[in-house]
Every structure is written in structure tokens, then in C-alpha cells.
Symmetry: D3
Subunit: 287 residues, 6 copies
Amino acid sequence: MLSGWGGGRQGWEAIIELALAEDIGTGDVTTLSTVPAETRAHGSMLVKGAGVISGLQAAAYTFWRVDPSIEFTPLVCDGTSVEYGAIIATMEGPARSLLTGERVALNVLQRLSGVATLTNRFVAEIEGTGALIVDTRKTTPGLRILEKTAVRDGGGHNHRVGLSDGVLIKDNHLAAIGGLYRVTNAILSARALAPHTIKIEVEVTTIDEVIEAVEAKADIILLDNMSLEMMTEAVTIIDGRALVEASGNVRLETVRAIAETGVDLISSGALTHSAPALDISLNFELT
Amino acid sequence: MLSGWGGGRQGWEAIIELALAEDIGTGDVTTLSTVPAETRAHGSMLVKGAGVISGLQAAAYTFWRVDPSIEFTPLVCDGTSVEYGAIIATMEGPARSLLTGERVALNVLQRLSGVATLTNRFVAEIEGTGALIVDTRKTTPGLRILEKTAVRDGGGHNHRVGLSDGVLIKDNHLAAIGGLYRVTNAILSARALAPHTIKIEVEVTTIDEVIEAVEAKADIILLDNMSLEMMTEAVTIIDGRALVEASGNVRLETVRAIAETGVDLISSGALTHSAPALDISLNFELT
Amino acid sequence: MLSGWGGGRQGWEAIIELALAEDIGTGDVTTLSTVPAETRAHGSMLVKGAGVISGLQAAAYTFWRVDPSIEFTPLVCDGTSVEYGAIIATMEGPARSLLTGERVALNVLQRLSGVATLTNRFVAEIEGTGALIVDTRKTTPGLRILEKTAVRDGGGHNHRVGLSDGVLIKDNHLAAIGGLYRVTNAILSARALAPHTIKIEVEVTTIDEVIEAVEAKADIILLDNMSLEMMTEAVTIIDGRALVEASGNVRLETVRAIAETGVDLISSGALTHSAPALDISLNFELT
Amino acid sequence: MLSGWGGGRQGWEAIIELALAEDIGTGDVTTLSTVPAETRAHGSMLVKGAGVISGLQAAAYTFWRVDPSIEFTPLVCDGTSVEYGAIIATMEGPARSLLTGERVALNVLQRLSGVATLTNRFVAEIEGTGALIVDTRKTTPGLRILEKTAVRDGGGHNHRVGLSDGVLIKDNHLAAIGGLYRVTNAILSARALAPHTIKIEVEVTTIDEVIEAVEAKADIILLDNMSLEMMTEAVTIIDGRALVEASGNVRLETVRAIAETGVDLISSGALTHSAPALDISLNFELT
Amino acid sequence: MLSGWGGGRQGWEAIIELALAEDIGTGDVTTLSTVPAETRAHGSMLVKGAGVISGLQAAAYTFWRVDPSIEFTPLVCDGTSVEYGAIIATMEGPARSLLTGERVALNVLQRLSGVATLTNRFVAEIEGTGALIVDTRKTTPGLRILEKTAVRDGGGHNHRVGLSDGVLIKDNHLAAIGGLYRVTNAILSARALAPHTIKIEVEVTTIDEVIEAVEAKADIILLDNMSLEMMTEAVTIIDGRALVEASGNVRLETVRAIAETGVDLISSGALTHSAPALDISLNFELT
Amino acid sequence: MLSGWGGGRQGWEAIIELALAEDIGTGDVTTLSTVPAETRAHGSMLVKGAGVISGLQAAAYTFWRVDPSIEFTPLVCDGTSVEYGAIIATMEGPARSLLTGERVALNVLQRLSGVATLTNRFVAEIEGTGALIVDTRKTTPGLRILEKTAVRDGGGHNHRVGLSDGVLIKDNHLAAIGGLYRVTNAILSARALAPHTIKIEVEVTTIDEVIEAVEAKADIILLDNMSLEMMTEAVTIIDGRALVEASGNVRLETVRAIAETGVDLISSGALTHSAPALDISLNFELT
């Protein structure tokens, strides 16, 4: 079990810096004017709901950036399922520093745990089907890496992180290319110019496009907003020659039926753009 | 009506930079490898839901940062209520640039419009009561200013922006101060040390604390998680000597009853931490 | 007593970074070419004047940023009055690092102690009157928070920190609004749109405007450049219904008479824009 | 005559960014809540004192960063002497933007004009002596380049900008080197290791050290805190073999006598660390 | 043909900022002290060697950042082969700005053209073999994206850009995993945890490892430092079931024989870490 | 001997940050997906060539920024000549962190050691002549300070670091000045306006210009691309009245003859722009 923020560089630190800057502004006047500098406190993070925890390392980093003398001790690992009332971390340090860092740490932790919790519900729905739940680029601005980690903490898998680590030819790319055989042309063009180390995925909406994509040797075929019947037919046609991903109208009520069509991957933007926060609070007592 | 991003400095630009950096990484390989540099396109932003729009200026800025030659034209103002199918903005420019900026612009716009839409539903619920819906510091990391603007676009009002522009003495501050008369002591201490230009608010949970806060001349009294009866009693006791704010258990089903107790302000973190995104998409065609 | 820079994030670190960058440039050639890397030194900070010290934490941070192995020990607290010859801090560490950090640390400390010293003279002048000396936004670019702290160290109080934590309607705002009842209109407009957590202050220059401001329920009324007689009349009219602040022509020779008119606050830009530096030097010896 | 900020990169932009950030914070609530977005205004910068102007380009940049649509027109050049009542610049643009940028622009301009004005008084004192007034590194943190420019605008000359563009061996370097012949050793060491493109200056306090410095072929010899007699003797000994700089106890009353000893350069930290601001104000009217 | 820097965001701008900052420091004293502000000049970029041009857009950006009023006109496109004496760009503008930007623009252009030129020689050597020349991560710090573009300008192809857009299991990863079947285990582990959008490559040094990699379904197999005979055998075994990449001992004299073993890709760090600069100079004349 | 990165601020840290950011992107997927978090490793840096080492402190900093818990121990000092097979540093720490930092640390170290090695060969060629080998501003963007240090590590000396710490009037400056006596005019102008702490150097190409430069009292005269005969004549004319620097056509085969003309300094851009990297690799084993 990690004891606070490990210290290794993660890549997501900038959003925490920004969040602290916007919250603290020119100083926490309430705390500075009411709490003596020498007061020390002990805090406990209490979960007021059931869910999957994600973001403890980011919370640890938040307190570390406010005051490196705060000792933050997570009691569970990211990815743990907890019930109402669980204490997931404790912290010790100057009361002023704890009060100043509290809100940003909770904002981050609540949001990421919300993402992990929602992902986990989708994963549970499709248990046993062999399909994977994957995220999208519809993440909260600035939180991309943390939310992608939260999806994994919830049992999901990650799609590409951003525009530079995967080729995904979408409807608007095809519109910009235009003409006949544009699916084929796009795939050939990407294969010629993109690094050979990343796969080529294409979004299709008709069976004709599915066939074109398979023949042009797409690595991954994204079935966008297809009916269950059409998806089943597409899976049959593709027949293992490419990975098959489904997207569109993915809800808790519909996801199992989608998984049962035989697709390999089911992606949903809602995992990150519409997950409600998990309620977590922080209780202080003097030490 | 504004024509794109005005150009004046807003204070929220950093989150857009961060979002573009995390999305674009070392370059949009799909677009660069499949769409010719000289292709130009026209795009329309289509709302696929009903709601209140917020974030058009941030979307305009996003495209401007990707490529200043993109012409972004909003067709409505922030704060406008729209129905399913509304076109809220159009854009013209190099297809590559439009494709590269699309996702970040939509992520920002969808989230902010989600906040404005949810705020608007709360505001509608309490119409005629005289109370105001206000936000909290439970905002998305990095999006504080944009989300506070979205709350105003939805008809709500803003609480303090961060820790430096308002004194709000909360339960954890009182815990850190300790002892008898801690509400009084905290208020006196804040009045002595904080700038005289910001008001002093204190969070209370009992009628005794309400009385103590009034007598210590708090400017604003925050009734936290009180029953409707207790709130009514508190309002009667305070009797105009301080602004009264209610928080805790604020939902669409409960908010009107809370407003009818006579409180001045009702604050809810859910406006910003749990608002589902408004569905908005971008359709391109060649020009 | 603190032992060096506490380590908690303060908000003013950026100006120290900038000052070090502009001074060190691509390296301290004198020190690198004349002092061996292994030489260690002991330094003492000596005050060559009488005054109030401010900025020791910023000085400690400066040396910490040059070399975290420097041990900086303040011998007095910020806010202490000292006489000529006082030693206010000592430091130990690599001679190269001490020599490289010396100038920036002294530049910061001398300026802030100059502000605290001048503030203290104003405060002494009005002792017993009940009025408070407050600062303005006429601070040195980049040093806002540090100079506001220096004012408090000198016994003064702070006005709003910047444009986002207080409403202050000045002559140029009124000019931009124009028309009859512009004082009233400005106050009403600010009350409707600004967060309810910050007070509304208005600058007035005539008795008519004083009356208008009181009736529109301004929280603070700033009497700008009024004669002593007019100030006395204004205080009588306001009669406790708003805080009263005086500004304009505030000098050591005039400040007591202004305080005796009964105003609550006296603000002066000279505290920060024209305070002469307190002379402080650093003496090294080998260890 | 320049028309606003030229646009070329200057190196001092960072301090303006910092000053705007600390002043504007999360937004100028007064202006946003009281002045309509469409109001336009005309402003005039009025000097309320006599002095030498410096910083117009920085002021122009400040307004440009707040809103590039502001048109800023300087009416005089930096370095111009003006009398009470001079209008030195006008500006046109959105009233909101002008109000938001006003304070930072004035803070910069008042300080720099204060430095130019004070420098100019020293320069006038020594007219005809052949000596030059030069600045030091005792500048305001973050304003180094702008203040060095202000010194030139006032008729002074610049010493090295920072630690990397000149070798200046001071008392604390000599203390760190220690031993006999430390002046000689320091000069030889610097000549061997520092770039051959920068001169070597050494600070001396006795005639013996003067002789040692000349013999070791110092390029510049800094006479620190010497009596007029000792300075005269030093000048005679050096006899043109090095540039001679005087420092210490340089005041308006003493500077001419120092110049008349025959030194080439007289440096004073007071030019930048203790110059009182020149009073400049901004008047708006609607357009 | 582009006319100067297009203005769209590229991702490599930071290194130009850094290069300008380190070169200009606190200002170009030579130019400022010898060339009048109003002098205008015309410059021509002359190639003094034969090679392939790369970096014109970066050079354009460099001048744009020094002074947006400079007009930079490229006369050829990146990727063009030129002979000794070719003029590849002209520029017009204030002489001071041209002089200040000259060195950084040339440093960037010479280095990138050097990379494109060397790449082109490798590509020419293997013409007709069907193999591709690809780069590595052995790039100049800060210039990754620009150098990868230079490789493409020279006719080569890109390997992954960095650690996040490709899985490449190298000898040190295998050492850290340890045990039997570590090639297999590493591939299975990467397939389970890495995004499904990037390919999995493994570095092997023996025929046994080749077999293990094929059976574990690696997407790309990197033959490191193998003899030509071993490479030929590996290609036969792999038989199209994975892409085959060769690395190690790749020189102009050896590259064709490597290509003729039938590998798909040949990677060489020397393309970027040891390419000599192409000699390019800038000639000014007054206008 | 230093043990890892000393911790003192060096000025070159930004390029390491940039290099890590561009390499790590959103995370090292290979390492994260194949190497367990708890694995620890030991690494050795092995030189596969003969040369002079430079950059160990930068390599130490690189690992420190990836993970401060890595212990990096240099076994030699920068400036040491090593043979094939030398182990120059060892490191211990989490295997993941070592793998993630490896490439950037090696890229920096190989390049800087390449510069030191090439410089050393030039220095060896002119041994005993009394001339010094100096660098230029033709450095790798972002690596200026590190490469200048590498030149010193190789036994060379440094020319000015950038545009602000030396006056060097070049052909393009003279072109921009124009007219008769432009060498004289440029020198006089620089002496009047540049800080007196930096020397004035002028580039000349004819004997007439040499004479003009000497008479105008240039501190340093740069003979650009002169024949050996002309250089000899110039040295005779200058006769110790200025430092003499030679540049142009400086190669290992020509440098001794140039030195023997009696010039004081020989500068070469090739030291930094075309030095091949020294081959260094990193071998890990489990601990």
C-alpha cells in the first residue's frame, strides 16, 4: 500500500496546480484570520455512498503541494470498492494547511471516484460476455490522464489517450476526404503516413462500410450507432479480421445486449462526461 | 452578438491550453495522415437535447488557439435556452484545424451547458420565492471561472469564487478553533484580520449557533443541513440582521420547500459537480 | 519562531522565481570563476537603520530556491521593530550558493521592510483615534501579496487584494456609467450581479454623492480628496450606516487630522509605491 | 514616435503578466457588474508632478494584454522631461478593458518614471564632470530590465544587467577566497575561467587593494565607501590603467564632489530601490 | 507554398521560445547599441552545401516571435533537395529584429536540414528494396517533433513519437521482468493493460526469442544487432505474421545489405543524434 | 566527487523538463503495462567509445525529476577522459522509474559528451601554441548552457553566452549601419550605449578593417575567414592592442596552422552543431 503521494512524476500534476491556484487565489483569508498558525489537526476522509475509489494519489499530491509537511495516509488502494461509511484516508498536519487543501483534494477525489464507480457498474453489467468497456476522449478538460486511470480503477479499459497515440478515422474525417472509396483511401493514407506503431481504426455506419474497412485491412472497426441486428451482422462479416468496437446509445440498460452481439469493445463517453460525483467528506479534529 | 472570441483576457484561458495540450499531444496523426492540408470545411454545432447554452466564448477561444484563421460564429448568446436541433454556432476554416479542435471545444461546451441547464432547472423550481440559487467551490478542477459563469448563464448567482474573496467559517474551522464561544471568536477574529471589503459568513448547525452568529454580527449565516422547521425558526430569529443561506440535501424535489422557509440563498454543489453534459455535436461539410 | 522557509505554498513564489531568473541569467560567472565549489560560508544579515522587518519568509524561500542545502535561520519574526545594528537572520551553506542568492534576498527584504517601516510610522501617528491605516492597489508589480503582508507587519490593515475580491466603484466607473443617479445605479447593479460575499464600496467627492451612496446602501463609502470639514460632515451624515474610508493627500503631517474627523479607514498608496528601502546588508565569513 | 506597443519581443513581458494576474485575479467584479459591455471610453494620462517619463512601452503592452482592441497612443517618447499637467498618452477602447488595465499600467509607469526622474537629478548634479551615473543590481524584483531602461531614459548609464554579464568581485567573494593576495588571485582566476568577452571588476576598500588590483590588470576598479581624499589618491594611482567606479554614500548632496575626484563612474542603488513614484493619473470620458 | 509561419498550433513552439530566451537574455546589446531603430533590412537565406531542407516553418515562427512585423517568405517547401547556392527564403523587416532572430532561426534550420539530408542518404541507399528507414527516440532534447518531421522530409518514416504512443518491450524491460517465457509474459501483460489502439513491439536478440515473440502474437518484432544471416532466418520464421524491424550497426555502408534480408523497417538513432548541420547563412542588405 | 544532482539551481533545467515532457507524454505504457510497481533495479552506464564525459549532473537531474527516490551515483567527474568500456555512473531505484528516465538521460549525456570529446580533439591539436579554442552561439536550441559547459569540460573556453553578455559587431550589423567608417562608428556607438562591463568585439574581413578596429579601440577583433597570411599580418598590426580571434574554416586539419599565426582565440561552431554523439548505454539488472 502506498503511503501518500509516491513522488514519481505522473504527467497529471498540472491540473492540480491549476485547481489550487484558482481556489487559493491570493490566500485563504478565512483560515489565516481564524486559525492560529501553530494549531495541528487530524483529518479522516469518509465516504458517504457506495462506490469504487480513484484519485487517492492525486489527493495526496494536492496536500503535498499545499504543504509538504502534511502526512497523508491512504487506507485503501485506488480501485477498491467501498461501502457507505468507509474511511479511505487519514491526514495529519498544520490545521491551516489541511483546511486550505481540503476542497481541491475532495473535488478531485469525488469526481474520479464517480468515474470509477460508474465504469464499474457498466463492467458488472457485461460480466461474462468477453467484451471490454472502454473510455473515449470525452473527458473533463485537464483531467484526461486521471480520468483514464479512474476508468481502469473501475475495471474498464482505455481507448487511445489523445490524438497522437491512435488513428481513428471518424465521420468528419470521411466528410473532409469525400469521394468514392473514402474509407479505403483514408485507411491506405493513414497506413502510409502514420507511425507503424499505432493501429488504424475507422468509424463505420453501414454494412457496406464494414466490408470496405475489412478489405482495406483496418485494425479496428468502430460500429457507430448501429442497431443490434446490424452489429451482429457486422461481427459476422468481420469474423476476427479486425477488433470490433461499438459506440452510441450505450446505457446501463442497453450495454449487455450490445456486448452479446459479439463485439470486442464497447465505448462510452458518459463514463467520463456525465458520471455523478461520489460523496466524500473530510472531518477534522484537533491533535 | 459577439463574433467569435472577443480577444480580451478572461482568466480561464489556462484550462483550454491544458486541454488542448493533453488532447493533441505530439500531433493529430489521424487528421495529418488522411486530410490534405488545403482542404477547407464548414462546421455546424448542433444541440441534441434541450437546455441552456454556456461556454461559446471558451469554444471560440479553443478554435482560435488551434488556428487563428478559423472563423467561429456563434448564433446564440450564452444563457440562451434552446430546443433539440438548434444550431448554436458555425465555423469555417482549414479542415485539419477544425478536426483537431473539435473534441476539446465540444467537451468544454457540453459540460458548461450541462451546468447552465441544471442550474436553470433549480431556478425554475423556486420562481417567485425571492430566494437565489448559488453555486459552491465544488467545481471541476481548472474550470472554476467558466463554471461560475455557466451558473449565471443558467439564472443562478455566484458565491465567492475562491478562498481569497470571502470569509466562510465552516465546521472544520470551528473544530480547529475549539472551545466555548468559538462561533463568536471566529467572527471577531476574522473581522480584525480580514480585509474590510469582504463579508464574513459562518456555517451553523444549531439554533444556539444561529443566535451566537447573529449577536457576533456575522454578515451571512449558512444553515447547514437543517430541517425545514429549524430553517424557518432560524430565519425568524435572524430577522434581516444577516443574509441567510441554506445548504445540504438540496435537490430538485426539495428546493422549493427550502426556498419557502424564507432563506435568501440556497447553495448546491451538485450544480457543478454532478451536472450531466448537454449533448452537442459538430457536423462538417466541405466548402 | 520559524526556522527558515516553512515550505507551505504562499502564492507569492512567482516573483521570487522571476527575480532569480533575471539576476542569475545564464549563471553567476564571478562566483563560479573565483570561489571553489567546496568552500562553505556563514552569513549574517545586519540592519543598517531602524525600522520594522518584513519579508524574512520570502528571503528564506529565495535562498531555498537557489540551493535547498542552505540553512537560513531568522532571529526575529516579521513585524518586529529593530534598531540600527540588529542581526535579523543568519545562514550557513555553500559559499557559491550564498553569494548567488544574496542580492535577490536583500532586494526583497529591504523593500518589504521599507513598506512595513513606513506603514508603522503612519500607524503611530494616529494612535488612539480608532481609525485604521489601509493599503491600496498601488503596489509594486508582482509584489502585491508580499507588500500587503508588509503593511500588516507594520500595523496597518489591508484593503481588497485585487479586482476580484471587492467592489470599489471609482470616478472612472461613474464616468463610464454616466447619467443621473449614477451612484445609485452603480450600487444597485453591483448588488444584483456581484457575489453576495463581497462588500460594495463607492468613491464619492461631494456631499450629494455621500447622501446618494448612503441611501443606496453602500457598504463602504470612500471620501476622495475631501477637505477636513467636508469629511467631518460626511461622517455625521453617514452616521454608522456604512464604513467610511478617506483617501487623498494622506501624509505623515496630515494623517492625524484626517483620523480625527471620525473616519474608519485611511488609505494611502504611498505605503507601497514610495516607501524608501530599509538598508540591510549581508556579511559572510568562512566556516 | 511609436504608436503603442511596438510588438517586438522585449524580455520584460513576464512582470506585466504577473502584475495583471495578481490584480485581475478571477475577474474585475466592479467593472463587470457596473459597466455595460458595449460602452466605449477615451482616456488621457495626466502627469501630476514634474519629471522624466519612462515606461510608456510597458504601459502600452499592459493595455494590449488586457485587450488587443485598445488603441494606446503615446504623445511623448520615453526620456522626455515633462511639467505638471502634461498629457503623455491617450487611449480609446471598450470602457471595461480600459478600467481593468488602468491600475497596472499606472503602477508600472509611475514607478519607472520615478526612477528616470531621480536618475536625471543625479545626472544634472554632475554635469560637466565627465563622470557617468550608473545603476546597480538593487532593482525591484522582476523589473530589472525596465528599471535599467528607465535609468538610461533619465540620462544615466547601465552597469551589468545581472550575474552573467559581468565579473564583479565583491567583499563577500574576497571573504570566501581568503588568504594573502586574494585580490590578485580572484582576478587571475576570473580571467582564466570567465568568458573573455566580459570585463573583470573588483571592489576595493584600501589603497593597498587599489594597487593590487591595478597590478593584476583589473579592467574596472570599484572604490567602495572611500573618503574623497582616498578616492582622489586612487584615481591618481590607477592613472587610466582601469576604469574607476565609486559607490557608497552617493546622495544628491555628495555626488558632485565624488565626481570631481576624477572617477569615471558613480553607481547608486537608490536610483532604483528608493525612487519615489511620479504621480500620474488616468481620466476617462465616454465616446 | 506556405507564406511564412502558418499560425496553426504545432506542438513544437516551446523549444523555439526556450532557444530565444537563452540567446536574447536581457536584450541584444550589440544590435540595440549600433543599429538605429528605424533601419529596415532585407535578408536572404543561402545554402552553402547540398541537402534536403527542413525547418522552414520553425524558422518562420522564430522570426514571428521576435517581431510579428517581419515578413518571412520561404522560396522552397520543406523536403526539397537543394544544391550549393540555393536561396531558400527571404525576409523583410526592422533590421534590429532580423539581427536578433538570425542565429536561433539558423541554428534550428541547419540542424533540421542536417537530419533531413542524412535521412535522405539512407533512403537513397535502400531504394527499391521495399524497406523503410525509421527514426528512434534518440533525438535532440526538446526537438523531438521537429526532428521527426525532418526525418519524413528526408523520405524516412517515423517510429513512435514517445513512450505513450507505442509499446516497445526492450532488453531492460525483459531484464526487469525476468524469469522464463519473459518475452511471452511481457507481450500478454502489455496486451491486457495497454490501450488496444497501439501495437506491441518486442526487441529480440536470438532466434528462440523470435519464435517466442511470433507465438505470443507480437505486432512488431525488433531484431537488435543481429548478423545478416540471423536476420534472414528471422524474416523467414516470422513469415509476415508481424512487422520486422532491424536496428544496430546501421550505417550508410551496411544499410542496403540489411534491407535485402527482407526486413520491413530499419531504424537508426544516428539520423537524429549525429547528423552534421547543413551550412546555411543569412545575408542582409539595407532596404 | 558529487553524489548525484547537487540540487542547486543551474539555469539549464528547463530543457530537461521539456525533453521529459515530450518523451513521456501521457505515460510510459510499455513500462507501466509490463513491469510491476514494486520491482527494483540497478543500472550501470557504460561508455562504448573513447571520449570526454560531460553532462553527468544533467543526467542526475533527469532521473531526479522522474523520481526523486532514484539514487544516481556518478563514478567519474565531468571532464574526465574515458576509454571504451568505462562505467561512468550507477543508479538504484524502482525499475519503472529507471526505465522511464533512461532515454532522456542518455540523449543528454551522449550529446554533451560528444561536444566535450570533439572540443578536446581541437584542444589537443593546438597544444603549446598559447591559443584557446572557444565556442560560438551555434549551439543546439535549448542546450546553450549545457553545451558551453561541455566545451569547458573538453578543455575549451567560452565565448559570450548570448546576445546580452557581449558586444559582437558582425557583418550583418555593419551592413545595417552602412556608410564610411562604419567599423569605427559601430565601436563608438557601442561604447557609448552598452554597459561598460562588457567588451566590444568586431568582426573584420580585410586589413583595412583591422586597422580601423584597432584605432577605434575595439577590445577584441574577430578575423573572419582570412587566409593564414592575412591572419599573420593582422596579428602583427594589432600587436597586443586587442585580443585576436580567428573563425572560419576551422577544422582538425587546419586548426594548428591557424593557432600558429599568433591569434589568441579560435572559435568554431562545429564544436556544438556537428559533434557526433558519444555512444553510451545503460544496463539494468534486478536487485
